[in-house]
């Protein structure tokens, strides 16, 4: 996924720019944290990358395809097949059971359901015995874990998570975060996480810092560590 000169403004008279020409790239299998103050454009970036919204200018390429050339149906297909979303709140559909909620993306895409895959994932996140529960019968952490499985239902290559632990207490938040890192390693799915939590951000392999609609810093933790080690070695 690659974004070129991405810009987004709101309002028609007085324009507020949420993004001001951002170049941005997510590679396969990455685990990235996007940090920044409120209103710095993190969520806007995520929404554009996930094709939930269309940019005011600039282009987004997914697997080499320019998304600005796609119609609504193709964009919906892109959202359904390539990207998975996790929001701050679980947003599970209250009328459906845990298993049904997790199967929903497969139902929408109508290419047959792979119930085994979804059940395995639910077992993997510790909800194997809650398949028939309704969302309101689960704890906050459990609900968010269902949302994580739902995002993975169509085996997307990229998961976009907008403060996925923002609504959870620190213990549950840490559990969900652990789960995401594990799934990243096990499945090779790329993750881009917006977070306010520094401790979590520090556990990502890449950190993108945003401010005032622009990327102010973008570094890989490994490279920084290596550099720091080199500097330390030179100093000793």
């Amino acid at each position: 996924m690659e974004a070129v000169e991405l810009a987004k403004s709101y309002g028609s008279g007085v324009r507020t720019w949420a993004l001001r020409g951002v170049d941005f790239r997510i590679d396969a299998g990455e685990f990235m944290a996007i940090v920044g103050a409120s209103g710095s454009g993190k969520s806007t970036l995520l929404n554009l990358v996930g094709a939930l919204d269309r940019p005011t200018s600039g282009r987004i390429f997914v697997n080499g395809t320019d998304t600005s050339t796609l119609d609504d149906v193709s964009l919906a297909a892109l959202r359904g097949d390539t990207v998975g979303f996790i929001f701050q709140f679980h947003y599970l559909l209250s009328e459906f059971t845990v298993l049904e909620n997790a199967l929903m993306p497969q139902w929408i895409r109508k290419r047959g359901t792979d119930t085994k895959w979804v059940k395995d994932l639910l077992g993997r996140v510790g909800l194997g015995d809650r398949l028939k529960s309704k969302p309101n019968e689960l704890s906050g952490g459990q609900q968010q874990r269902v949302a994580v499985v739902r995002a993975l239902a169509n085996r997307p290559r990229l998961i976009l998570a907008d403060e996925p632990t923002g609504n959870l207490d620190s213990q549950n938040g840490a559990l969900v975060f652990d789960l995401l890192t594990e799934l990243n390693e096990e499945l090779g799915t790329a993750f881009a996480l917006v977070t306010h939590d520094d401790r979590m951000a520090r556990r990502a392999r890449r950190i993108v810092a945003m401010g005032d609609g622009q990327i102010v810093a973008d570094y890989r933790v490994d490279a920084v560590k290596k550099e720091a080690e080199t500097v330390a070695a030179q100093l000793t």
Partner: protein, 413 residues
């Protein structure tokens, strides 16, 4: 079936905290009212029509009465006599009526044709004399053109012949006559013959009950001196409202005077038409009110579910899919309302039909409190309208749902 859309629509409807039930109820009441009202009005009207038309032929063919012919005309200024006219005393009559009858029987929709000889006269029993309309008929034929079976109070109409007569219930009272008594019937040509009373009838029309007397056809032909001719051909149509077109066709094959019941009861038919229009308006209003109910529920649904819609879109649901979800919901409400409404409506119709007034018989059947005439057509039409209405009222809300902006919908809920 479109699995995903149907699943979502179904669950939305099931988990609506009573909204679905109330709206389905509103549609059901609409359908029920249409079914019940239609059956009631139809029952009332066919009762009325039966009262008016049952005892008279649907179409009558008569020899035209010859007009008085002016013989001499004087200038009106001076003399007292302005015109001399020849009043014909010759009875009007239809010659070779058998051929005309065959021709009429060939017209589509004609069930039967009966010949009759009609004329005026009087009836005497002892010291009592009453004026009468004397009608000569062949009983078996006459019973095919007017429904008499339920209208015989006493005796057997089938026995009417050259010695036996049938008279109205009022005339019987006036003359103090019972079945088996003898009467003297005199035609306006002065021919008198004695008859035995074979039957007493009640046609539901005061005038007929007071003055009609039926005798055998040949007796009447002799009494009115018209040989083998008749004065009237009475026609029964297979369908009552075909009377007018049949009358028009009969006019095409004979110059005789032709009258259908629909032409002689224009005002009555107008009243029925007005009644139908009024009932139609009430029914349309009822269904329209139900339609508003469905539309308002759908709009509330879309508002309530806008976050879900956003989430579904984020998972790849297309606009068309979202639209289908809400159209299916509208369809579901229409279908549910139609099923329940027609079920309960049909039940109520049959219940109302079974409520009889104990001990009262009307037209040979137990008299009912409400004269219902149920027809599956009403159920079919009301149901079809309800379903179409459910669909139609969901179109705008469904379109609104499909157009919802994904990010906005999720953020604002």
């Amino acid at each position: 079936m479109r699995g995903f859309e149907l699943r979502i629509a179904w669950r939305h409807l099931l988990a609506s905290h009573g909204q679905t039930e109330l709206t389905v109820g509103a549609v059901a009441v609409g359908v029920l009212l249409v079914v019940f009202l239609s059956s009631l009005i139809n029952g009332l009207q066919s009762g009325l029509v039966e009262d008016v038309v049952g005892s008279i032929p649907h179409v009558s063919v008569e020899a035209a009465t010859p007009d008085a012919k002016p013989l001499w005309q004087v200038d009106g200024r001076s003399g007292a006599i302005t015109a001399l006219e020849k009043i014909t005393t010759r009875s009007k009559r239809i010659g070779q009526w058998d051929r005309i009858r065959s021709a009429i029987l060939g017209i589509r929709g004609v069930k039967s044709v009966a010949p009759a000889v009609e004329g005026d006269g009087f009836i005497t029993r002892g010291a009592k004399t009453v004026g009468a309309r004397i009608i000569g008929i062949i009983p078996a034929e006459q019973m095919k053109v007017v429904s008499l079976a339920n209208r015989i109070v006493e005796g057997d109409f089938g026995q009417v012949d050259q010695q036996n007569a049938a008279i109205g219930v009022k005339m019987a009272n006036d003359l103090g006559a019972r079945v088996g008594n003898r009467l003297r019937i005199t035609s306006n040509r002065g021919v008198t013959q004695t008859f035995r009373v074979a039957a007493i009838f009640d046609l539901g029309v005061e005038q007929a009950n007071e003055s009609s007397a039926y005798i055998g056809l040949q007796s009447a032909q002799a009494m009115f001196g018209i040989g083998k001719d008749v004065t009237t051909l009475n026609i029964r149509a297979a369908r009552i409202y075909d009377a007018k077109p049949i009358a028009d066709q009969v006019r095409g094959i004979t110059p005789l005077s032709v009258t259908s019941w629909m032409e002689s009861n224009e005002a009555f038919l107008d009243t029925l038409r007005m009644q139908n229009v009024a009932a139609g308006i009430i029914q349309a209003m009822t269904l329209l009110a139900s339609a508003f109910g469905v539309a308002s529920m759908m709009i509330v649904f879309v508002v309530q579910k806008s976050r879900d819609i956003g989430i579904l879109k984020s998972m790849g649901a297309t606009r068309a899919q979202i639209r289908r979800v809400f159209v299916l919901e509208g369809l579901g409400v229409g279908l549910g309302g139609a099923l329940i409404g027609s079920g309960v409506g049909t039940g109520l119709c049959y219940l109302a039909k079974s409520l009889t007034i104990p001990g009262q018989v009307f037209g040979g059947k137990q008299a009912t409190i409400v004269p219902m005439q149920f027809d599956m057509t009403y159920v079919a039409i009301a149901s079809a309208v309800a379903i179409a209405m459910g669909l139609a009222s969901s179109i705008v809300p469904a379109h609104r749902a499909a157009k919802l902006d994904c990010v906005e919908a999720i953020r604002r809920g």
